[in-house]
Symmetry: C2
C-alpha cells in the first residue's frame, strides 16, 4: 500500500466506525425522549460527559480534583433546572457560577493558571450546560416531537455535510481553526437537513399522532440556521482543540471522537431553534 492508499483505507475505516457507533448509540438517546424526566436525565448525562472531557483536556494537568469537582458542579445546572427550579434558571445559573469561582479560589493558588481555569469553567458552564439545557424548556413547551427534531437535525446536518464534503468537497472555507470544511459540505448539509425535516414531519404525523405543520419557508429557514450554527459551534470547539493541540476532546464513540466533538454544533442550534419557535408560536 502507498501512504495515500493507507490514509484512504483509514478514512474508510473511520467512516464505517462512525456508522456503527451511531447506530448503537442513537436508539438509547432517542428512547430518552419518551418522558420529561428521562429527557432531563439525558441532558444531564451529556453535560456531565462533555464537561468532563473539556476539563480533562484543559485543566486536569493542573488539578485532577478540580476537574472532577467542576464536572459535578456544572452538571448540577441541568439537573436542578429540570427537577426543582424550572421557573428560576437565571438565579440557579448565578449561584452555580459563584460556587464554582469560590471553589477555584480556595483550591488553586497559582496566578499563572488561574485564568485558564476560569476559562475552562465558564466555557463548560455556559457553552455546554447552559446552552444544552434549552432542551428542557423546548421539550416542556413544544413537546417530544419538536425536541427530538432539534436533536436530529444536528445529526442530519453533520452526516450530510460530512458525506457531501467527502465526495464533492473542493472549495474550502479557509477557516483557520477547522481547515477541512468545504462549501460543498455546507450546502449539501443544508439540503440534506431540509430533506430530513420533510421526512421527519411526514413520519411523525403519519405514525406518531404528531401535529407538526412546519411550512416550506420555515423548513428552509431551519435548515439554513442549522447549517450556520452547526458550523460556528463546530469551529468554536475546534479552536479550543487547536489551542490544546488535541484532535478530539475524548474517545467515547469510535469514529466520532468524544461526546463534545459530537454535540459542538448542537449547542448553538438548540437555543436558537427554541427562540425561533417561540417567536413564531407565542
Amino acid at each position: 500500500m502507498t501512504p495515500q492508499e493507507g490514509s484512504q483505507s483509514n478514512l474508510k475505516r473511520e467512516t464505517i466506525q462512525r456508522f456503527i457507533s451511531a447506530f448503537i448509540v442513537a436508539p438509547f438517546v432517542v428512547f430518552c425522549f419518551v418522558s420529561y424526566n428521562s429527557l432531563v436525565g439525558l441532558v444531564a448525562a451529556i453535560v456531565m460527559i462533555s464537561a468532563g472531557e473539556l476539563f480533562f483536556t484543559t485543566i486536569k494537568k493542573y488539578n485532577t480534583w478540580l476537574s472532577f469537582t467542576y464536572t459535578a458542579v456544572v452538571t448540577t445546572y441541568p439537573i436542578l433546572y429540570g427537577i426543582a427550579f424550572r421557573e428560576h434558571p437565571l438565579e440557579l445559573l448565578s449561584i452555580v457560577y459563584i460556587v464554582g469561582i469560590v471553589i477555584a479560589l480556595s483550591r488553586v493558588r497559582n496566578r499563572d493558571v488561574i485564568t485558564e481555569i476560569y476559562f475552562a469553567y465558564s466555557t463548560a458552564l455556559i457553552y455546554i450546560a447552559f446552552l444544552l439545557s434549552f432542551f428542557i424548556p423546548l421539550y416542556d413547551k413544544f413537546g417530544p416531537a419538536v425536541a427530538l427534531l432539534t436533536l436530529t437535525i444536528a445529526w442530519a446536518y453533520d452526516s450530510f455535510a460530512y458525506a457531501f464534503g467527502m465526495v464533492f468537497g473542493k472549495h474550502k472555507f479557509g477557516s483557520y481553526y477547522s481547515p477541512n470544511k468545504s462549501w460543498e459540505g455546507f450546502f449539501g448539509g443544508i439540503f440534506g437537513t431540509f430533506m430530513y425535516i420533510v421526512l421527519y414531519q411526514l413520519i411523525a404525523n403519519a405514525f406518531f399522532h404528531s401535529n407538526m405543520r412546519l411550512s416550506f419557508t420555515l423548513k428552509v429557514m431551519i435548515a439554513i440556521l442549522t447549517g450556520l450554527l452547526d458550523t460556528f459551534g463546530d469551529i468554536f470547539e475546534s479552536s479550543i482543540k487547536r489551542h490544546y493541540n488535541v484532535k478530539h476532546m475524548g474517545n467515547l464513540m469510535p469514529g466520532h471522537g468524544g461526546m463534545l466533538d459530537r454535540i459542538d454544533g448542537l449547542l448553538f442550534i438548540t437555543p436558537v431553534v427554541y427562540i425561533f419557535l417561540n417567536m413564531l408560536y407565542k
Copy 2:
C-alpha cells in the same frame, strides 16, 4: 521622611482621595435610582465601563478592535434585558454569548491567544453583565429602597472593612490572591454593615415613606452574606489582576482604582440578595 513615613503619608493621601471621590460620585449614582429607566441606564453604564476595563487589561494587547466591540456586545445584555426582554433574559444571554463567540472566530486567527479571549469575554458577560443585571429584577420586584440598600451595603461593607482593617488589622486571612485582608477588617465590615442596615431602614421609613421591615435576624444574615460574598468577589477580581500583574483594572476614581475594582464584591452580592429576598417574600 523615612520610607515608612513616606508610605504612611501615601496611604493617608489615598484614604483622603477615596473619601473625596466617593462623595463626588455617590450622589449621581444614588440619583439614578429615581426611576426604572434611569436604573437600567446606570447598570448599562457600569457594565460598559467595567467590561471595558477588563478587556483593556486582558486582551487589548492582541486586538484593540475586539476590545471595543466586546465592550459594546456585553453592554447590550443589560440594555436589552431592561428595555425589551424583561421576560426573556435566558434567551437573550444565549444569543449574546453566541454572537460574541462568532465575532472572535471571525476576527482572531491565533490559536495561542484564542482561549484567553474566550476567558475575558465569558468573564465580562457572566461576572459583570449577567450578575450586575440582577439589579433590574431587584428594582422591578422590591422597589428602589431595597435596590439602593443592596448597592449601599456593598459600599458600607467595603468602607468599614477598609477602616477596621487599617486600624486593627493584625490577623491576615492568608489569601494567596489578596494577601492584605484581615479578620479584623472582615468582622468590622460585617458589624458596620449591620449598623448601616439599621440606620438605612430607620431613615427610609421615617423620611421616604418606605415600608421596610427587615427583622433583626434578617439584618444580621444580610450583613454576614455581604461580608462573605464581597470578600470572595474581591478575591476573584484580585486573582485576575494578579495573573495580569496589574494593581488596578482602571483609574476611574482616584483612590479606588477602576470601576471594576469598586464593584467586584457587589457583583456576587446582588444576585444572592435578590434570591434571598425572593425566598422570604414570595
